[in-house]
Amino acid sequence: MNSSPIFKIANGIGLVLLFIIFAVPFVWMASTAFKSLGETMTFPPVWIPETLQWQNFVEAWNSGPFLKYFVNSVVVTLLILILQFATIIPAAYAFARYEFPLKNFFFALTMICLMIPSQLIFLPVYLNLSSWGILDTIWGLILPFATSAFGIFLLRQSFMQVPEELLEAARLDDASEWQIIRKIMLPLAKPVLITLALFSFIAHWNDYFWPLVMTTTDQARTLPLGIAMLRQVEGGAAWNVVMAGNLLLVLPILVIFFFAQKHIIRAFVYTGVK
């Protein structure tokens, strides 16, 4: 790397600019969430509200069945996580450690799944779920995501890095395949597992498109839909209330990210035995 002072300064300025580009919308959201309706419309814009309008949050929460949305979001996201791990772990282990007929074909198929955007397949999936009669239920939001091609890929890579001798030692130690997965593979893949859980949680907690397509009543709606509906309340959008809702929506993600950022970084660094 170039280490001349000019390069360092330019590098620093670049990083600051990037930070501003990413951070400003977020800060704006947080700031607006605490403003009065009047303050959201003044020009030049105010960054720090005169008084913090906590009632924005109350108003957002009370403007619809938000408890229902919240429970739906939690149930959907958690069940997706559980189902994904139940399918990803055995699949990744098999791809990483076993030889079986058509292994490469099936792995290629998995990789293709990774490349197809959900917008492309939502119609057939919709028709399929419709024929099962589970539209507008939380199952319609969960089952299409019961596994994750990305998860299989990432975990397979992690499992492949475990030296074969470890598995052989475990087999000599009378361990069953399930014990090998549970006691040796999974603890070694912990950073990857945490990363996968985070990615999946964030994606499905924030997911707007799929619930929008699959739900028609509050019965199965999730938080992102509820927040989006805030905009349509009483004709015009009360941006301070919408932003308060958004802040509520991202709060769990922020909290989790705050505690787990170390793991996300570590997930991409192999820490194996020497």
Binding site: E165, R171, L172, D173, D174, A175, G272, V273, K274
Partner: protein, 359 residues
């Protein structure tokens, strides 16, 4: 304790036969070393013994039981791996305990066993540490403890010392020999290092290209190598070997079958002046390199026969230049055209000497 018997074992990988029809018996309670260059099939034999590879042909017997179709864990063996293969997320105690817990040994008994083994290998103070907090030697001991705690009939060790530094390696070598004496279990040890093979084994099995070259006690391998490969593999530096024709002064004395002539570097001598010692081949030579190793000096010299190593404990020559290499005839080895060793050479002067009662 168990005797191991391999019956016509072969192993083929993708049409490539890496182990060729090997039959051998490893004695109960012996310390047997499989040694050979990389790719000779020694690790494959070990892995077939452990059950990680299925032999293409032949039978494996451990303690009188045919184990061909037994899973590794049912063969009553324990293995120490080259990279130790410690479970990195478990503590030392967890590593030793894992096999016992899987065998449903009661907790109380497990703790007793672990304490006992930890004491033997000197790990009592490190039981709660993870492997990455241990030194190379300590990891090695954990691997040994993990193997020992299961009280197996056979210990399999796959180049267990190759990741240690030279000093620790020497120390662990001694410890392993003592451990073997204490346990009395059959040890099968794989290495490419002839020093380990010579110093540790009761018996060494030299392998090359999937074929057993020689199976004998270390000293027998050294003194009477079974073939050219064994002669050149064991010994540091290896035996000097030349085509018979190079020694024209010997032609009449050598048996018809001899095709190669060899001698150990330490049996040859070096002098600045020609001495014309009887029954000795004297070659006017030039020293190419000399390595001073303290107790001994290794010379590489060139003469009309070729390039040869000479090892001396007296360092008769201290700088490069011209000199005379001397090779006593009674120290020569002869090998046939198929590279197998021929009976010890029998020169007329030896008979006379024997008759006269002098040597």
């Amino acid at each position: 304790m168990a005797e191991i018997r391999l019956d016509n074992i072969s192993k083929t990988f993708n049409g490539d036969q890496v182990v060729k029809n090997i039959s051998l018996t490893i004695k109960d309670g012996s310390f047997t070393v499989l040694v050979g260059p990389s790719g000779c099939g020694k690790s494959t034999i070990l892995r077939m013994l452990a059950g990680f590879e299925q032999q293409t042909e032949g039978d494996i017997w451990i303690d009188g039981k045919r184990v061909n179709d037994l899973a590794p864990s049912k063969r009553d063996i324990a293995m120490v791996f080259q990279n130790y293969a410690l479970y990195p997320t478990m503590t030392v105690k967890g590593n030793i305990e894992f096999g016992l817990a899987n065998r449903k040994v009661p907790k109380k008994e497990r703790n007793l066993l672990i304490a006992e083994i930890a004491e033997i290998v000197g790990l009592s103070d490190h039981l709660d540490k993870k492997p990455d907090k241990l030194s190379g030697g300590q990891r090695q001991r954990v691997a040994l403890a993990r193997a020992m705690v299961k009280k197996p009939k056979v210990f399999i060790l796959d180049e267990p010392l190759s990741n240690l530094d030279a000093k620790l390696r020497t120390q662990m070598r001694t410890e392993l020999i003592q451990l073997h004496e204490k346990l009395g279990t059959t040890f099968v040890y794989v290495t490419h290092d002839q020093v380990e093979a010579m110093s540790m084994g009761d018996e060494i099995i030299i392998l090359n290209k999937g074929v057993v070259q020689q199976k004998a006690a270390p000293i027998d391998v050294y003194q009477s190598p079974g073939n050219l490969f064994a002669a050149e593999f064991i010994g540091q530096p290896p035996m000097n070997v030349f085509k018979k024709e190079e020694f024209h002064e010997l032609q009449d004395a050598l048996p018809e079958a001899a095709a190669y002539i060899g001698f150990r570097p330490e049996h040859a001598g070096l002098a600045l002046e020609s001495a014309h010692v009887p029954h000795t081949i004297e070659l006017e030579s030039e020293i190419l390199t000399l390595e001073t190793l303290g107790a001994e000096t290794v010379y590489k010299v060139k003469n009309r026969v070729g390039t040869m190593n000479i090892r001396s404990f007296t360092a008769p020559v201290s700088k490069r230049g011209k000199c005379f290499a001397t090779i006593p005839m009674e120290k020569l080895y002869a090998f046939g055209a198929d590279q197998t060793a021929l009976p010890a050479l029998d020169f007329p002067f030896q008979k006379e000497a024997a008759l006269n009662g002098v040597r």
